[in-house]
Amino acid sequence: MTLALAVDIGLALLILAMAAWTIAVRDTFASVIGFVTYGLLLTLVWVRLALPDVALTEAAMGGGLTGALLIGAAARLRRTEATVRERPGVLTRTLAAVLSATVTAALSFCVLNLPDPAPTLAPAAAAKLGSTGVGNPVTAVLLAYRSMDTLLEAIVVLIALFGVWSLAHDRFWGGCPQLRTHADSEGILAYFARILPPIGIIVGVYIFWIGADFPGGKFQGATILAAMWLLVIGAGLAYLPPISRIWLRILLVAGPLVFIVIGFAGLVTAGAVFAYPDGFAKPLILAIEIALMPTLVLALALLVAGAPQRMPPQ
């Protein structure tokens, strides 16, 4: 057994133990903390699988933003979660265990019988990489080969945000979403919220920019920028804007709109929807990414913040 395999086995056991604990622990808040830890361990698995683009997304999104979202919800629901003591009976639990074990066994069978050699689109992706002008094949897939998926993904994020907003009480429509803050303006959180964002913003923009040629990209960069914004708001140093602001709404739709316009312009300039004319692929990809960036930063941060809860001060 090689050292690398020993590390992998240790990591797999650790992640399974963390998942089991997250499911089994009584206290919901503890479960949320377990889930955040689980997300960070999963990031290490992505690194071990040599998929750094996914690792960055998982660290920023799976562990980071989802964690912030769930911690906020668990804190608000703490009272009601604690009162739920009713557990399903032994029969239900046994049946659930049997069902879960069956699913796991079936999937394990599939994993052990995957075709060898594995089918891959890597050579096809590499063949045309030069024509896209980007060096990172994952970015090429996201913004050239399968850019329709990425457009729909950005729209899904927006639709989810509209869904969250539509859950506001009628009297708060158009108002400000609010994060729960108990921050002391001289406390350590406020200190971090002043020190960290300058570094975080540079890291976020760097990860966005480097994504063209190396692991990184707009989703990972946007998540980091959104996290920095939320940190400043969570520390009570700034407030979220009312959702009725025109600039906010323009920035939210600008990204997908630019994407759609460039996509359909391909019909005229390159003969197909979402095709780029020769030699213009890189600048057009860059234009789409730059337009999508503010949309994603705002949408991701506002998804964590939730529905509007108060009217802006007049």
Binding site: A50, L70, E81, A118, V141
Partner: protein
């Protein structure tokens, strides 16, 4: 046994754990967490398939990798919507439960269709 196969089996187990948590835990927030564990198991399964497709100097097949990134972002959006629904339910009733029997006050406010 190599790395991808090991993590593939790990993913299968995670999907099982998540499914069990989704069924057994009574609190809605715990069900959202269980659902997310199922989701991450599916992502990991897909990730091992991406890793197996490593070729021409790439660490993995880039197409499943791109779909994974898309999937993680969509999963986050869906989770945010689910949490918002849950919090609104909490605002309405002060109690969030999927318990089988309704409390007396709830039963009075919303009589069952006979």
């Amino acid at each position: 046994m190599n790395g991808p196969t090991l993590f593939g089996l790990c993913a299968a187990a995670l999907i099982g754990f998540g499914l069990y948590g989704l069924i057994v835990n009574p609190q809605p927030l715990r069900k959202i967490i269980g659902f997310n564990i199922i989701g991450s198991g599916v992502f990991l399964l897909f990730g091992t398939i991406a890793r197996r497709g490593a070729a021409v100097g790439m660490g993995g097949d880039p197409v499943p990798q791109a779909l994974l990134i898309t999937g993680i972002v969509v999963a986050f959006s869906a989770t945010a919507l689910a949490v918002a629904l849950l919090l609104r339910l909490f605002d309405e009733g002060g109690v969030v439960t999927l318990a089988s029997e309704a409390s007396p006050t709830e039963a009075k406010a919303d009589p069952p269709d006979a």
